[in-house]
């Protein structure tokens, strides 16, 4: 089995700017994820951050990625639209994308969903219990009936997302809310996973169950094809069609797409 090229993108601002966060994630959230996922021998891991040139995502990195993880929060607006569009086209062409926690508001996620991806939130150091709705799904492999996190930020419904293709986990929060915490969508030829936990104040990304879900999600969404979808070809008929119009014949002869679709 070929190695899976995993690229972990993190905006890496909280950890730099706030000492309390740096204590939780001394090498950044991307560093913790690289450590935690790095134990999997089938992963070839790279990291990238906002402040690097091209946000650490030059064309050759994007194009050689099988699955990308995305953590962002305060710097969503600083991400270059051109990079976002390149990442989006890779997803549509077959790359996997795993959007983490506050990445719900990232350009790449909202652009792929088409909705605002808004929600309710609260920082109250409260308990979260993520219920496993589909234990037979590959992303839930090795996960029991639920994952309990002693302290997390709360995200509450209504989460403004399109109906997921698959809803894998629903969170219960101590303060009284629920949330669709792990969900998948097919977009183009790519698979998108949203996974809720991971507020910067908590060591969530060192929790073994959380890392298991992420490793599973990497394998499940990793690219298997590379098929561009940004073209609408003018095609010949496969069966006899008498009586094409002059306009159509001329267009076909000219090889022109200008009159079509």
């Amino acid at each position: 089995m070929a190695a899976i090229n995993v690229t972990i993108w993190n905006e890496y601002l909280h950890e730099v700017q706030e000492s309390a966060i740096r204590e939780v994630y001394p090498t950044g959230i991307h560093g913790a994820l690289a450590d935690g996922l790095g134990v999997n021998a089938d992963f070839n891991i790279r990291t990238a951050t906002l402040e690097e040139p091209s946000h650490g995502l030059p064309d050759d990195v994007i194009e050689s990625t099988d699955v990308m993880l995305w953590w962002g929060h305060m710097g969503h607006h600083l991400v270059d639209n051109k990079v976002v569009e390149k990442v989006r086209q890779q997803v549509l062409g077959g790359m996997g994308l795993i959007v983490l926690h506050s990445g719900h508001y990232s350009k790449i996620f909202t652009r792929l969903m088409g909705t605002n991806c808004s929600l309710m939130w609260r920082e109250a150091n409260e308990k979260e219990r993520l219920w496993n709705l589909e234990p037979s799904h590959p992303i839930m492999a090795g996960i029991g009936q639920y994952i309990e996190l002693p302290a997390e930020e709360m995200y509450g419904e209504r989460f403004d997302i399109p109906t997921p293709d698959e809803l894998l986990m629903v969170s219960w929060f101590q303060g009284g809310e629920v949330f669709r915490s792990c969900a998948t969508w097919r977009r183009g030829h790519g698979r998108v996973v949203y996974f809720r936990p991971g507020h910067e104040e908590y060591p969530t990304y060192r929790n073994p169950d959380i890392l298991q879900v992420l490793a599973n999600a990497c394998r499940w969404s990793a690219r298997t094809v590379n098929i561009k979808t940004n073209d609408s070809p003018n095609v010949a008929a496969l069966e006899p069609v008498p009586g094409a119009t002059d306009r159509a014949v001329k267009a076909a002869q000219a090889g022109s797409g200008s009159v079509g679709t």
Copy 2:
């Protein structure tokens, strides 16, 4: 029952620039649709076109629309991004949107779907038969086993769309292809319908069955709520949560959303 405010948007370029198309639709595609849908006493119909100021869609028109129909083709790139975003927010807030034929490539549709919405196509004057998969769906009311169109442009799979919430019609084409021709998606609080037929060279929008589907789709997708989804509120707990962090308490006191989501 209150009237439904229907706004028919048409780019209105083919009909102006090409005499052959003008013969098919002397008052424009929007004119034909306004005539065909205007027989429904519960519809209050307006039309809008590309060349009008704000493309005929100033704020008060967008905001007072219950359902919008969208036909575009050669001028997709000429539509102002600001207008598109206003229309999109209205959909997410509850407005219905019915995207017609070559509108598959419109900014509003691709932005709401998140995908490229590409397809295969051919202009060969060929027969299309749209099979009715869900005769009990309100959009199919009054439609039989299939609709047959003697001549249409061909659109073939793979249509690069997210999995529809509901797939209502699949087309058979004489030349050998199939296409998901009528499909629905919920986006935010709004309902989006895509309906394939309607190439500018053919009088498709005077076909009674096609007009029936469109009238049904207007009623089914018409706005019932007006709820903005572009905000993520910071909320208080509904149940006791001991031990909120200092950071969270300070943020709540300041009424600030800056640390959250």
Copy 3:
């Protein structure tokens, strides 16, 4: 608008056998529902119970019903399979079905879902908060952000159901669980709604919000077509097909379905 024929089916055993339950529902759960839904002028309401002949569901009642509500619990196994199959064929032909609370284990629901419809449960007099995920759905009309019930039986995930076509409410329980509480599925030409609340010990069916959801669900799922789906017709080709086999020609001549499908 024609009246909607609503049939409320209740096994009516708890109320007869247990005085504590009879105090909550003196005229039975069906009586309370008939009272609560009866304020809607567009409903023509009938009730039926297990101990009546044919469980109160002779053919003419089933066939003239637009939407049926089903509450059962301890007597699921006492319901005649023949009646269940008649009800199922009506659903597949276009009748609406609203399955209530412990009806998750009814023959009609499990037969339509194909799964075991199992769940976790607890009777602990605890708080339930049903979060509204789709305020623009007709079944949620008039319902706010959530419905709070001070005391209910707990139902917890995993609920063994097929992925719902639409997930409208998710419950939060005081004891730590979550549950998909309001969901819909299309089966044949009929629409099926499952709505969780309604344990016999609590006056849930007098709660105005609960009654609003049920009235909405009746209107949304009420029959609009009557199309049998229990036959697979042998059909002639719509387009020329040269070279049918002798076997096929003979079958078609004989009008026989015996070699086909």
Copy 4:
């Protein structure tokens, strides 16, 4: 990687009773499938037929199967309900099931779907072209834009199935119809695939593309868990719930499920 235990079930009546069919499949449809799938080193293949004791499906065979293929037609009614129920519980517990062609009317498929699974049909020796809607899905691995079969039985919509979780192929037929030819559903913890082609008069199960789809489907749906879903446990609260009723406390003390769900 552990071998996948594949059980191919075939009613094996046409091949025995009709010489013309026996010429197409001298060792039976199950024999042809065993040959075609047997080239995959990761498959451990067994076959079973209607006339064998327990239809070739004694408990130990059912329970040690990871994925079962099912071809049936004229003998659906001869299959023992008890065997069907055992197979169904295995699917709900995690076994894969691939239903072939006329198996649409089998007890196991209709029981898992909940619908009648009816369709239109015609035997006219006509061309079928199966369009690939999701080339990135594991079941479509290695399959191009479409599969063309020179002669097959026609199946036409409306196919009375629940909305598929995933729609992978749609067929075009020469005679003018379309059909959802490859689709998947999750039921319990198991995955169900329906794949249309395979009329007994044609050598469809020796077509390399058809065999590729079936091999892919075996791998995709093969069991990964074994979790029974036919029980609804009474569970203790995970969080403090003051004030459980006497009735609930007594039930919990008695370990009784009789009052619950």
